[in-house]
């Protein structure tokens, strides 16, 4: 059975801190790993990673994939209160349903 595990499940930090969120996976047919940010109901797309070792970056957020060790990390530097959300990791294998982890709930306090 395909499985995606995220850690930690929740995290509380102060503004300005740097955080690292983890995602490990065991899937039969891997093609991509995706990160989403969920603030209220709609998960919004952050990154799609398909190749090992190539960092994707968007502002203060960055992510990298290790296909040998089957994991990915999402880094957020200089955190702001607006970064508070649930961060979801999912694995895709073509036009098939994504398999999601439970998410990491990040709370950034001023």
């Amino acid at each position: 059975e395909d499985k995606v595990v995220q850690s930690p499940l929740s995290l509380v930090v102060h503004e300005g801190d740097t955080v690292t969120l983890n995602c490990s996976y065991e899937v039969t047919n891997f093609r991509s790993l995706l990160w989403y940010k969920q603030e209220k109901k709609a998960p919004t797309f952050l990154f799609m990673l398909t190749s090992s070792g190539i960092e994707k970056k968007s502002g203060r957020l960055s992510s990298i994939l290790d296909k040998k060790e089957l994991f990915s990390i999402l880094n957020i530097t200089a955190t702001q209160t607006g970064d508070s959300a649930i961060y979801l990791c999912a694995v895709g294998s073509g036009n098939t349903p994504l398999v999601f982890g439970k998410g990491t709930r990040l709370s950034v306090i001023a």
């Binding site: 109901k41 797309f45 999912a90 349903p97 999601f100």
Partner: protein
């Protein structure tokens, strides 16, 4: 352009009633997915359409759940004889079709419908 839209945003119903949830995908996206998300969990797959046909409905929990997409665009998720355990946020997502040499795994989500069964 417009994103994925879902209606209603909230639905409260009584146990045993029938409900319909609607999803309007991004224009041009032929793949459409329904997921269900319970508190503290990630989205869980229900059913996936490629065009008008259900390509995979293995996530539907039982025969009270059904979904259609008659013209290959808007989809409706139908739940009969609702139970309290059906209470959750129902998310719809769409993506581009598979294309040669292009990874089209990214799915774009709508705002969801929060269903509460009393």
């Amino acid at each position: 352009g417009a994103g994925v839209s879902q209606t209603p945003s909230n639905k409260v119903t009584e146990k045993g009633k029938y409900v319909e949830l609607r999803c309007d995908p991004i224009s041009g996206h032929t793949a459409l997915y329904w997921y269900r998300q319970s508190l503290g969990q990630g989205p869980e797959f229900l059913i996936y359409f490629q065009g008008t046909g259900a390509a995979d409905d293995s996530g539907l929990p039982n025969d009270r759940f059904f979904a259609v997409r008659p013209e290959g665009s808007v989809s409706t998720l139908k739940i009969q004889r609702t139970e309290r355990g059906d209470s959750a946020v129902y998310l719809c997502a769409s993506s581009l079709s598979q294309r040669e040499g292009l990874i089209t795994d990214t799915q774009y989500f709508g705002p969801g419908t929060r269903l509460t069964v009393l």
